[in-house]
Symmetry: C3
Subunit: 331 residues, 3 copies
């Protein structure tokens, strides 16, 4: 049974073909290939784009989605494997997943990082438990470790602007925020760009390095695909040679997540001066939601180089492509 | 691109033809004209009838609806245009609308009046921002200024009972409540009745006059259509000559909304004695939800002259008719 | 107009034929018999399985479901028949049901027991009000008195394991919990098993007897169908001769529900030792959600004799079967 919760589930070749198929779907609206199929969206964390884009991905292909949100209308869930459940959590995740897997043809799951431990978050305990206990395929809507649909939509948007990603210089660009954020999105941009052979620069202040395990995986994939991975600590370094920037905030290396970041590195905000450093065909990505005038200055969002809405829309197509793969419907 | 958030978007002629089409849809269930279409329902305020009736309007015509509720499962939204977003609101309304407009074929939006300033509420800042930033048509599910679908359903119900609305005497009848309520619904009843040429009486206690700008618009439309607009301060005045009453509470003129109304004008409650003043074929409308035994005495609701359920059901048909117009599907 | 909120609505013969039809539906996925139909799911209490399984029951047969949750996105509802509604509840249940009945082809309603009075709960005031005021059929998603869809799914699962239920020994087996729970589920297991002619044993500690009215109804149906109803106060009594156990906690006889039960009768937990007392083909049921290591020891859930996921899945088929009956679509 197929699952897609980490890019390694499809590997570099799978990432490329999945995006290729997504572009075909976008160009010519496909026939309703999901007729009769039900995707259960199971949220252990909140969502706007992901929730609506997965629903729309199903509906526009003739299928249906059913939304289940832990803590809103349903019971709070126990997730500890050996719990004596005599407190306020009335159902175990394993039973919930077992049941939902009898109702849907696949489960889409969202569970954020705890931000208490990088190694634990990278093991993805909740989504791993869903994989272990679901009788149907599981697809990630963002886990503690990765957000594969976002990374695939990001690179699809880059390919729409620049064609082949092989050897293309792209930057994962840290931005300031009022609180530490999970690293699933930066992980997935880095891993997907590397898997497609991009030359990836990760720009972040000292102390905000991504986990070594993720960098190592990215470097291996990049090397195989004709790219590489570089890290810099100056927001202006290498800005003049990029084809695309993915702007994203994330928490400092070294947890717990209470580490204060509010107001730190405010000069890393992306503004018009900084954008002027980059080539005129360089596009800007952000997964959203974004903090205006904290991460990105408001006027930058009006630039035609800002492709955040294309990027959000492409979520539909990569998710349709991923679901086709998950169900073995790929033509 | 068409939008429908104010009656002025369609004007008096559009209101008449939209209701005519709604009656046709009601008589003979239409073919699924919305097949493949997705309406995103975007709630910045709660709902029962509106939410379900818009979903049903789509489903019964072969389409789909996706519900998004700000503050429930999604991020709290920033709405101030120039905000430095360093507090608790994690996404700007403009980005949310930009994204949702890439996912749906139209956006239905609900945002209530703030009740802090009549002039500001009449400018409809939130729904206006949605119109400005949406790449697809926007339809109102009640804004700070108007609730066009409610007004159209109200007048459709009047026409079902009495035929042509031209010159028909109808009353917008204030009722007591425990707190000040928005004026979108009374505005829309008044404007729609006036646009269709009714002779409209607005009955409300002194101090509860509707805004002059709305009265002026209504008077102009009424004059053009063969009707007029009269205001009275006595609940019994002119009651003996009406064809229909729309019962509704609203806040006092002069804001802020903290103005206390609880218990005031309790004698304006609609009861059996008052109903006996009206002609035997005079029907009673209320948009719901209603406070029994505060706005309307319970036994009045059992009268065959009470048409609140027809009125609620007609929401489906005027909304289908409005969506056909919005998408250019009108036959 | 048909309703299904108590097993008496279909009676013993109806229960048998409804399960027979559900088994047919399960074996050969039926054509979309609910095309064009909308079921409104109206929740006055939370849900996971019931909500998703009713949605899936509609979707898999070509229909649609619309979810309405009181207190989440909609107005809090008044339920007292004669209330002067001058407090925080802004809509009366009767109006809400009247409106929703104009939008859907049937209403599915959930309203839990108050646990304040067995006799009042057995009268089912909220669901009875829904039946009285709905213009379309009402189906229960669990009421204060019964949970018919659960009882039917339970017995369908028993029949899948053992064939004909006539004379089959089955046990309703009380389990400990941290708080008093409603009795709708045990009532429905008992009544449905009795209606199908099982020999039912109710095992519960002293003080946890089910209401006499329910026992009397069950005994009458059992007698007519070739079965009987026995009560025991020892968890080991008669365990060695059962074909199936339905494990469930419920509150003590004698209300109000504040009666403390936490930690009481902890030795009634179902564990491997206890399971070893039962015959090797004896299956275990639980309606879920369940408290691991309080009601049932974790390792018991891994036994192939534990059929909780089949039981949950069978909810889909009995609900499709019930909706066919409700709408007169039975072949």
């Amino acid at each position: 049974m197929r699952h897609l919760t980490r890019l390694a589930d499809i590997g570099p070749a799978g990432a490329a073909s999945l995006i290729e198929r997504a572009r075909t779907i976008k160009r010519a609206s496909p026939p309703p290939r999901f007729a009769g199929k039900i995707l259960v969206l199971f949220f252990l964390a909140p969502s706007l784009r992901t929730r609506v884009s997965f629903q729309v991905a199903m509906l526009r292909a003739g299928g249906s989605a059913v939304v289940v949100e832990a803590g809103s209308g349903i019971w709070p869930l126990e997730t500890r494997p050996l719990a004596v459940m005599n407190e306020d959590r009335v159902e175990h995740l394993e039973e919930a997943v077992g049941v939902l897997g009898r109702y849907g043809d696949a489960l889409a799951v969202r569970a954020f990082a705890t931000l208490e431990s990088d190694p634990v978050d990278l093991e993805d305990p909740l989504v791993s438990a869903c994989r272990d206990h679901s009788p149907v395929p599981v697809i990630s809507m963002e886990s503690a470790a990765e957000h594969p649909a976002q990374g695939l939509a990001d690179l699809m948007t880059v390919i729409e602007a620049h064609g082949s990603p092989r050897g293309l210089p792209v930057m994962l660009r840290w931005a300031p925020h009022v609180k530490p954020l999970p690293k699933a999105v930066p992980h997935s941009f880095l891993l997907t760009a590397a898997a497609l052979g991009c030359r990836v620069t990760v720009a972040a202040p000292e102390g905000f390095e991504l986990p070594q395990a993720v960098l190592n995986q990215a470097r291996e994939w990049a090397r195989r695909g004709g790219g590489d991975v570089t890290t810099v600590h100056d927001p202006r370094a290498l800005a003049d040679r990029q084809a695309a920037f993915c702007v994203k905030s994330w928490g400092a290396a070294g947890f717990p997540a209470t580490h204060p970041v509010a107001g730190r590195h405010a000069d890393w905000m992306v503004d018009a001066d900084w954008l002027a450093l980059t080539p005129p065909d360089c596009i800007l990505l952000h997964c959203l939601p974004l903090r205006r005038n904290v991460e990105i200055a408001q006027d930058v969002l009006k630039s035609p180089r800002c492709r955040i809405f294309d990027e959000a829309q492409n979520r539909i197509f990569v998710q349709q492509s991923a679901l086709e793969w998950l169900w073995g419907l790929r033509p």
